[in-house]
Structures are given as C-alpha cells and as structure tokens.
Point group: D2
Chain length 350, copies 4
C-alpha cells in the first residue's frame, strides 16, 4: 500500500508499505479524509528525533476494514473516526485520569510517533473498541476529521483554563488549535475572550469563533494591551497556543492572582520555559499552570461529534485548502511555509 | 417611604415604613427596576413561616443613595445592582466557599426573609463593597435586574451539573430559572440539551436559549422519553428546576451512572425528597447530587454583567409583563396565578 | 475444581466446576488467602436476584497460574492481588473516570455477580495487566487481601466525603467498611472523627483506627448526640457505611450546610432512600451527596499496598477468625449471623 | 509601646510606637507568644523593598485588648490566635476562593508588609470576627502559635500537591515549612514520603513527621536518587519548600506525567523560575504547577487548632530556642545565621 512518509529527518515522500496486521484488540481502517497538522512538520524537522520511513499524519476519518477477535462494537464497513491520541486504557496513567500519558509522557500519542501514522491506504488502530467512534449520519467526514485533534486539543486548552462563567480569558495565537481554544472558551461560558493574533484572516476567524477583542502583537506589547483592556486587573485565564517561552511568559503576566494558565502549545526549543518570577507572585500568587496533550478515546470523540450534530461549532471554516491523497506532499509543503493564508489543508483519500 | 409588603400569611399590600439606616459597612439604594419572583409567592404562602409587614422582593437594580463610613468603592449616585443573596463574607461558610450559607443554612438570603426586601423606595444592603456591582454603560437596568437571581441561580444549576464539554443534559421545567439553566448548560458546552416542559411559550423560549429537544411531560413519562432519546443511556447531567420530589426522582432516573444531578428547585412540601433506590444504584452508582442557593457577591455580579456586555445572553426575552411600582400587587397576583403566559413581570420604580 | 457456591437463593455449599479458560487479555489465579464479605451474604439472600451455582467471594490474593497472549506484566508464579472490582478499562464509564460503573451501573463488579467469584481453586481475571498488582515482599498475603475491597471501599468513603484538613467527620457504623472509612478519614487529615457504633469490640477498633469520639446509638438519637458534640454546628462530612435509609437521613441531618454526605453502604431495601427535606435546606443548602462502588484496578491496588509497606495502616486487626477453604461454609454462616463478635473471617486456601 | 522593627534595609532593633487604633471591624491584641520566621529575615534583607521602622513578625497568639463596634464574636480578655495572613474577606479575590490574594497579589499578607507586624506590645487586626479564632482550652499558646503560618503554609503545600491516597510525594527541604509539608503529606494519606534534606537534626524531625525516606542532596543529585527510589517512575507529587529555581526544576523532573508540583517556597532571586522543557513534556505532560500563600481566616485557624486538640500533630518539636520579647533581636540574628541548629525560636512576651 502507499504511504506518505518521513523518509528521514527533513525529507518526505511516498513509500510502499505492507498492510498492517490486526491483533485481537485492534482495528484496521481505510482513510477517507485527513488533515495535515503543524505537528507533522515539527516531526519531519526533528521534534521527536530520527525516524526512517515513518508514515506521517494523525488526523483522519475512514471506514473499518477489519477488526480483531476481541473487538465487539465495530465491524468492517463502519464509518468511524479515530483520535489522534490512542491511549492504552489499562495503563496506570489512564487509570489515574491521564490517558494521554499512558505508559510514558505523551505515551498516548502513537500515530506518526512510535508507529506509522494515518496518511496511508490502511491504518492500524490499537484498542479499537476504546479508540474509535461511529460518526453520526448528519456529520460529514470533513467535520468529523476535526474532532480527532483540533477540537479535542483546542477545547482541552479551554477546559484546563478553569474559566469561570462570565470570566475573562486571553488566547495567545490563533492557529487552528488557538482558534478552537477560542471557541472552547466560548463553550465554557467565558464572558470576554481576548484573542492575540496578527494575521488578518486568523483574526477574522477568531471573531467568528467568539473572540470579543483582538490584540495584535505587531502593534505593541500584548501584555500592556491586555492589561489596558482589563483595567490592569488581568484575565482570569490565559491559554498558550503557540509554544514559545515568550508567549508563555506573557500568559503568566496577564493572568490575575488566583487565575490559571493553560498551556497547549508544543514547546520545541530551549532548555527551559521561563516563569517570570515577580508576576508569578514569587511563587505564591496562586497562578496555576496546567498543561495537556489532546485527549483521545471513544467517549471524548462521541462528545465532540455531538457538538457537530447539534451545530454548536463549525470547524470546517478552518479548511482553507484541499488536496487528493497523492498530493499530500503539496499540502505538507504549504503547512511548512504557512504560505497562501493556509489554516488547515484537507486530504481526500478517495 | 412606601413598601410592598406581606402583611401577614396570605396577604400582601402597601405599607408606610421608615427609610432604613446605614451602618459602617452598609449601603442604601433607591430602586429603579425590579422583578417579581415565584419565591415571593412562596413566602407569602408560608414558605419561611409567619412574617408581619415584611417588605417583599429580592431582584432589583438602582441608584446608591448613601453608604457607610467603611464603604470605599461606591458613592451616592452610582448605578448599581445588588444580588438577591447578600452574604456575610467573613462568615465561616463564606470562608469555606459556601457564601450563600453564611452563618446558617440559606443564611445569605436576607431580602424578604430575615430583613425587608427590595420592593420599597429605599433598600438597605449589608456589606456594600462586597455585595454591589457597578453596571456597565452598555447594559440596561432591565438586563441587569436579571443577574441578581435568574441568571445567577439558573447558571449555577448548570455549573453544579458538572456537564462535560459535549455532554448531554436534561433540564426539568422551563420557568425563568429553568430557562436560565438551559442557557447555562449551553454556556457550559453541553452537546445536547433536553428541556422538559409542557407550556408552548416556555418550550419556545427554551429553544431560543439552547434546548435541542423538548420533552413534553403531558405526552408521556419524561423518563421514558429521555431514555428513548438517549438510546437508554441516560444523560450525563440532570437539572431539577421545579422543586417537586417527583421531578427529583426523574432526575436520578435519567442520569447515567457516574453522572450528576443538580438541584435548583425549592422543595416546599413533604417530609422527604425521595431518591429512587434502584436507579441510584443501591447507593453505589456514583450519581452525585448537588444543590445550591443563588450565588451572590460583587464578583459574581460582575461576571454575569460581562455576559450581558458581550451579548452572550439576552435575559429580557423573559420579560413578559411590565408594571409601575404602585401596581406591584397586580404583578404579584399574576405571578401567583401564572395566568396570561407570564414568565417574569418587570417593576418600574420611576 | 472445587468451588464454594450459592446453589440457589438462600443455599450455599461446595460444587465441582471446570477450571476457567483464559482469553488473550485474561489471567487465571490460584487463591492463597481470601476474606468473606457481608456482600456475599446479601447475594445469597437475593440482593442481585436468582443465580445458580454461582461461585461466591470477591476478596482474595493468590498466585498467577496462567496468562493470555496479550498480558505483558504478569506471568505464572507471580504473587498477586486482584481487586474485588475488575473494570473494563476501555469502557465509556472508565474513560469518564467511573471505572467501577463500566458498561452499566456497578458494572465493574463481576466476581460473584456476573461471573464466578474467588472462593474456588482457580479464578478467572479479566484484563490481567490492568486488574492485578504484584504484592511487595514485605506485605503478607493476609494484609494484601484487605486492599481488594475493605481498604479500597472504606478509604473511598473518606475520599468521597471531601474532608477538609482539620475538618470534622461522622462515620455511621463500624463494620469492616466503616472501620476503614474511619481510618480513611484519619488518612485524609480529619481533625475530629466521630464513630457511630454500639458494639464494644467495634467501638474499640474504631478508636484504634482513629475515632476521637464514639456515639452509641443505643444510648440515644445519634443526631442529637452529634449536634451536642459539635455545638449544634454539625460536621463537615458524614459517611454512611451501613446501608439503611434511617442512617442516611441521619447523615444529611448532621452535615452542616456546604458539607458532604458520602454514601458507602449498600441499600438493599425499600423503593426509596429518603432525604429529609428541611435539613437538606429545601434543596438549597449545598449538602452534596456522593456515592461510590469500591475502586478497582492495578494503580489503586498498588497505592493501597504502599500504605501497607510503609505501615500506615494495619488492617489485620479486623481478622477475627480463620478457616481453611473447605470450611468456608462455617465462615459464611458466621458472617450471616454476626455471632461470636465476628469482624472478618480469613480463608486459608493452602 | 515597644516594638521590634526593621529600622531600614538591613537593620533591626526596638522602637517606641503608638498603640494602634481600632476601627469598627477591627481588634487589638496583646501578644503572649510569637515565633520568628525566615520571612522576617527576607524582609529585612529587602524582599519587599524599603521600609522604615516597620514592626516585624507575623506569627503570634495573644489576648484581645479591644474590639471595634461591629465585632460580635470576640471581646477583651479572650485568648486568641490570629493568622499570619489576614484577608479582606469581601474582596473579589476572596469571593473567588483566593483570600490570600485579596485586592492584589499576596494582598492578604499585611503584618510586617503593608502594616506593622506582631512583635509589639499591641497588635492591630483587620476584620476581627473573620481573622481571629478562640484557642481551645487544651491547646497551649505555644502550640497555637504554629497554626498561624507553619502549619497553615506547610499543610497547604501538601493540599495543593493533590496527593492521591497511597500516593508518593517528595518534599524538597525540611525547614519548618517543609517539615509541616511532610506532616501535611502524611495527613493527606501519602503512601510514601521522600524528604530531601542534608541537616541531620532536620532529617530526624522529618522522620518524626512522617518521612519514609531521606534523600541527602549532599550525597548526590536528588533527582537521580528519587528516580532510583521510585524505579524511574517518579513521584505523584513534589513539594518545593525552599524557594530556589534549582529545587523547583528538580520538582518538575521527579514528578511523573499527570502529577503535581506544589510550590510553597518564596522565590527571592532572579528574573525567572525555570521549567525544564523536556521533563515538563514539552508543555504537554499534564504536570500541574500549583502555588499558594499561607491560608488565613478564622475557619482555617479553627480547623488547624482542632488537629492540635486531637493530638494529630505536635508542632512544638520544632521549637528549638526560646527568648523573652526584649531579646527578639537575638532570636532574629539566629534565624538569619541558621546557627546552633535552629529551627524555630519562640518569643515569650510575658
């Protein structure tokens, strides 16, 4: 079968691979739609180290091709979505409420990390009953592709931010995850959402997803702008959706004492991420710092799909480009360069 | 000054009273708008026992008339809202996070309970700095009147229901508090909201505020209807907004194991409120039962006002009638009989 | 193999059964020590309905006899403990943090309920990697047998009671679960523990496990006694460890507004469990009612075993009798009659 | 009256001051016992900036000398304790559950910060009803002095660490706050407590307060030692009780994914406190970072006093020295140099 792979550090392309086997608890899918993620770009640039001919991609929906002997709730032909994160549900971390950390830090992240990803003709899924969900009839494949990562991760950013009803929140960066964090903040009852972003098309989408104010960091220090907007009080919650220590610092600075910083961004560089000592209240201002990796699992997927069914959110506003599977390399290059106002490129497998 | 009072059990009318004094931490207000609450009716019918010439009412906005020596943030002339619940913020219960229970069960509820209410020309407020909030310019008096109780109580119903993002929730009864619980569920990210109600005008408002499904209990057992709607799974959360043991039982029955029942309704009758033993999982199904009394306090008011500023909610859809202060008795009678499709009657003081 | 079974409603005895098979994720154990539980008695008396030749028992430790192909962390010969509750870790309820409710209310409870229990020469365990734990060398089999249910359930009672550090708690009934709830309250930092019990030997054990005050309900209304002890304030938390509606009512009555009632007792009778309306604050006093079923799973077992390793608790004080496996019927009869000051009878399989 | 003051940066001594006035909500106390805190040393060395003739000290018990007109529960002659932190209970932060941050970061900390401290013949207390507590008869003044800060702060460190029952925790540094964090971890049900300390007398006290293992950082990298002790798993929770970025980093490193870092230490130096990027899981390992400032208030004091009444903890093991009030300078110097194995010096005012 054909797979779109990272051939080695810095190099992508197509490769011929064997169709994956199916163990007793597993499932095998045939993708119909996929989305390219900036994480795929990070991976190719070395974020997780050397890999050889690793299939890329972790956001997809598809059709069940085969299931293992122990799988009860799915069968060949079912239209399903699989999470970007596919936890080991019996692991100690999962039993402790941290399924995305199963067996090791970030251990629930398997696709295009410790095993082949989803940009292939067939895809292996561990623990099928627990990691797949049926797609309701009224939900399209394209919509459903967004629950795998963008909605799950972005909404998690808002959930971890402990936003009180009517509270204020600042969301740093309005890429696809930041946009979904903005929407997530609206879904958590935020009273005021301040989106930090400089790109006009992303600013506009941020407003669509619920932002009340836009802070353009190109027009001055975002910390000052946010403190001005909040009469120097700061916000109840800040969400870091970029993954840079500068942005993280700004989050700590704009959060009021007793508030919460929710980190969603992937921090790829440097020995440290810095907490500004004074604004952190010399370690005593009760500014909680939460982090998370995209939640996976059937229940999570079902709940996010329900938000699509009842039309609480339209993630397809973020689909800026479409490509057939055989042109995944073009989608990937665009994601790498961020040219052409790209937000998310959709991959059509059929 | 004139006050609309409960003369004795079962009898209301106007009475002449002294303007209230102002202690060091207190404030005195002149009301501009008020709302009549079904609780006022309960009170007159004996819910809190005998009272003589007790001024009724607990929902109002107004102008500061005077403040005590220790009050720092408010002064005469300020346009303000005061919560229906005005806690003693130094009490043990408030220090424990339960300000509405200050000093005794329901102890934060003072207006028209342990002291005169707000349907009067002047109103006394304890702990002015902590229990008042300035009204933002863009928010009308009428809108602000809804944060005192309806929005605070209804949203609390949803907050206490621990609704997961994308979760399912059933809201029993769509009176003003139930309607705001429905809206609150939407603001908490519910994926599906099932509203139980039989009155067409309330059903329609429920849809406006976010209900996806309406269950009309006149058309059959609501438990069966909800189990049907959810493929016999039940809902993640159920909100009791009526105050009857039958409804409470239904809430326990439709909530899935591990889910939450949030009681908002005032239970006025009977020795017991009943938990159905089997559906409660013989005491082991992890169906949590939460209750609450309307949260008060400046911070709560500010956050709810923010939701009005950013137009996340329009509570004035519930204003079905208007009366001048001198006709408060007519408003009261209508609230008692529930005639004329009444939802909330607005009182204009000026 | 020999098994101690419920032959039919009301009748127990030994039966010959086949050695259980082992599926890919399963394990098979040979018990070494077991404990008889009052739940076994309830079962024989009809608590879960009719059963035929169902093997009884759910508290045991033993040696691994065989494991399925997918089991990685255990092998034949390992000394292990298995929880009384053996959840399906991939189920929606487990993904939601309610593993004991997997697939249905109380669905994690399989032994001597939906499949054969542990009083047999060989025992089948579902999801071996997730539901077994190795026993540390310094912990005896007898000690370890207590983590399966008594410690896990009793401590859960205290955890669900949300006891503040230095808070006050009343524990109703000092059977084995109540005693472990008392110990659990001490381990949660309770400042004052009031144990309700009338049997002298249980009162004495309660003191050993941390009770500061004993309320003997034979000497007067326990509610009055507890209100007297707390200057009419009531307690922060109350734990129901008996399973009667009268005791449950008393829990609600002695809990202060804003406090928590934690139900652990199995409620076996009546259509309803009653909440006293007035003391529940007419549905508004913020008295939370939590319930739970014994938590299972490898992580839980490991954490409880750690408390044995560091000698934070000695559960063997509760072992009042010992019997060889072939005399399990005598142990069972004693548990049924509660004669001879029985607390827990230990079964020796070898 | 005489007061022990910080005359200017770096210089302490006695000064004559006026007896403080008492506003309507206030109280005035005469101290009987006090304790010197390392924070006093930090203050004199410039931690909070320049101050002139600021009375030092924030840990004391005493007798009520006078109360304001609005104070209801205390009167002259009462034996009381006052928290080191005396929040403004009506403030937005207090209403939000963060009373120690009232009105600004660390705003509940008034003694020897924004007003005179407690090392004086008379002491002013804001909001007397809310910030004082009566001392039970069986509790000595010396014992009670420890609830003001050491027990409240140390236990908070453990509470913020979210230690599961039977969980593992590492406590970095065993000064008085660290020792109480160790004891607090035991009171939270920790299954294993690893105390990091190099001083033999503190190691010994740590064991008395519940430490199971001692890691001596003089004997090698504490991170390596803790990872060895935990089979490379790390701990569920780590408590930073020193206030250095190196220790904070170690806390992040030894905490397992999904675990919690609780910062209690005062961080006095540097622009940043550093989070080690990789061990923080590149911002995605769900390692929560909590911080806090000593909780104050009557309820907190009462609960901690209850732990003394029921003899759950003996804080007086930490009293290593005693001085009369007129020799507070000697106590202070010893606290500065940490000579003579000092832990806590007790000040006798009478």
């Amino acid at each position: 079968m054909q797979a779109f792979v990272m051939k080695e550090l810095g190099e992508v392309g197509f490769a011929e691979k064997d169709k994956p086997d199916v163990g007793p608890n597993d499932a095998r899918l045939r993708p119909t739609k996929g989305l390219v993620c900036t994480s795929d770009v990070h991976t190719v640039h070395g974020a997780i180290g050397e890999r050889e001919n690793l299939t890329l991609g972790h956001e997809m929906v598809g059709i069940v091709d085969a299931v293992g002997t122990e799988v009860e709730d799915f069968e060949a032909g079912d239209r399903v979505v699989v999470g970007a994160i596919t936890p080991d549900w019996g692991s100690a971390a999962a039993q402790d409420g941290h399924s995305s950390q199963s067996n090791q830090a970030l251990g629930g992240w398997k696709f295009a990390n410790v095993k082949d990803g989803v940009f292939a003709e067939y895809v292996h899924v561990n623990e099928g009953d627990a990691n797949l969900a049926h797609i309701p009839e009224s939900v399209t494949d394209e919509e459903a592709a967004y629950v795998t990562d963008m909605m799950s991760t972005g909404f998690m950013g808002a959930e971890n931010a402990d936003i009180p009803v009517g509270g204020s929140v600042a969301v740093f960066a309005q890429g696809p995850v930041g946009l979904m964090a903005t929407k997530g903040a609206a879904l958590q009852g935020a009273g005021r959402i301040i989106a930090v972003e400089t790109e006009p098309n992303r600013q506009e989408l941020a407003r669509e997803y619920g932002a009340d104010d836009i802070v353009d960091f190109a027009e001055g220090d975002p910390v000052e702008q946010i403190m001005d907007l909040t009469d120097d009080e700061g916000v109840d919650s800040a969400i870091e959706a970029l993954g840079r220590t500068e942005t993280f610092e700004q989050c700590v600075k704009v959060t009021k004492p007793g508030g919460t910083i929710s980190n969603v961004g992937y921090h790829g560089e440097g020995e440290y991420v810095n907490i500004p000592r004074e604004e952190w209240g010399v370690g005593m201002a009760e500014k909680t710092i939460n982090t998370g990796l995209c939640p996976g699992g059937r229940l999570r997927l079902q709940r996010l799909l329900r938000l699509l069914e009842t039309e609480r959110v339209d993630p397809t506003l973020m689909t800026s480009h479409e490509f057939p599977f055989e042109k995944t390399d073009e989608a990937f290059r665009l994601m790498e360069t961020k040219e052409d106002d790209i937000i998310k490129p959709l991959i059509n497998f059929e």
